[in-house]
Amino acid sequence: MYYLEINHLRKSFGDLEVLSDISLTLEQGKVLAIIGPSGSGKSTLLRCATYLERMDGGDLTYLGEKAVNMDEKGNSVYAKPAKLKEIQQNFGLVFQNFNLFPHFSVIKNIMHPLIKVQKKSKEEAKEIARKLLEKMGLSEKENSYPYQLSGGQQQRVSIARALALNPKVLFFDEPTSALDPELTGEILKVIRELASEHMTMVIVTHEMNFAKNVADYVIFMDKGVIVEEGSPDQIFTSDNPRTKEFLGKFD
């Protein structure tokens, strides 16, 4: 059983088709990196997979549960809201801009969804939050507010917040793009740690070295289609001219 399965995903904004016929699968404990130039549709793919954008065509399955079905014409048919909500518990998303709740303290950012959404007790939520903050090296910041933290620290809180809900699949949407270069390292380190713990992850990233070292599988997208996919070795030594041209910009 795949943890994540997408078949024939199509998505248009008005007349502009931004994703055409995207299919991918992800097994438990694997890390998938999606790379490609800006506007290639990789973020939209992530947003479709996390319900933030509505798919036009194709299906979407988490752990064998169909969130989105396909009709005979290939158009997407969404499951009932209750079902979608149930399936949603399987995944989390770390945003490029963190999107922490500024009016909550660091620890409340993590505890609040546990209490209000997962109906955990305050004590239990606090325990979970503290454990994660410790893991992120932010124990001393639990009573700080997001504005008092550096970008890297904020992103680590947002990763802790997502992890607290115990997702089966964790998505990262360019998690280091909003950070100063000297701060990207601390985030990549956290993700690397998660990978070593066999967290199932999908990472949209511009950090090519990181993708090469951490990912089990790499998808290269351009202009809304998957140009090439395979192991990091395959992709980073590819003969495909488009892949080579793209990767060449990073050398």
Binding site: Q88, L93, F95, N99, P102, S158
Partner: protein
């Protein structure tokens, strides 16, 4: 008539003025929020109606609206209203009018919220109602407080418009005392009262702003 007598006569009116102020806030704030939702509705017909409503409420004098509410039941339905209607119609009139102003403030505050806050809440599994009242609205309050303060201070002064349907609030009584005693002293008292009232209101809002200053 000596000064003490004037003050004591005006005290009853001050209670009425504070009553109009307080009841208007109690009803117009939630009503304004409701109107703001209507204004932002994805149903075109609803947002158009609400837009028209806001434009009428903001584009016509409050005094006229008070007259319409107070006399409306008779002229529209031939129903004569009893004693407490004078006060009730004032609260309705003020609520309808201030609700429209508050709605626009709420709307600008809500629309200024970054979409990322909604998306993060959605991904974390908050329901739409939870998202609004736990994540969005508390931040909106901080953003709109300065604009709210302006409107609320205006409301303090606007309570005097209740004179148009002869409600015995402080300013109406001040006018009557002034007429009976051929003096302007009641107006000076009224001015001081409004000023002190507004100082208090500004003070309370200042405290709220300070309290919300714990984050940026």
């Amino acid at each position: 008539m000596n000064f003490e007598t004037m003050i004591s006569q005006m005290t009853g009116g001050m209670t009425e003025t504070i009553g109009i102020f307080a009841w208007t806030l109690v009803f117009s704030l939630p009503f304004g929020l409701l109107i703001a939702f209507g204004r932002m509705s994805k149903y075109k017909w609803l947002s158009t109606i609400v837009k028209l409503y806001i434009s009428i409420m903001r584009g016509t004098p409050l005094m006229l609206q008070l007259l319409v509410v107070f006399f409306g039941p008779y002229y529209l339905f031939r129903i004569s209203m009893g004693g407490s209607w004078r006060f009730i119609s004032i609260i309705i009139g003020f609520t309808l009018n201030y609700g429209a102003y508050f709605a626009e403030i709420f709307r600008s505050g809500i629309e200024s919220m970054p979409i990322g806050q909604y998306e993060a809440a959605k991904l974390l599994g908050y329901s739409r109602i939870q998202t609004f009242f736990m994540i969005i609205f508390p931040q909106v309050i901080k953003r709109i407080l300065p604009a709210m303060a302006n409107e609320i201070i205006t409301l303090v002064k606007d309570t005097s418009l209740a004179f148009s349907i002869a409600y015995m609030e402080m300013f109406t009584i001040a006018k009557q005392i002034a007429a009976a005693n051929t003096t302007f002293v009641p107006f000076v008292i009224a001015a001081v009262f409004y000023y002190v009232f507004n100082l208090l209101v500004a003070g309370v809002i200042g405290l709220m702003e300070k309290k919300l200053n714990y984050y940026h």
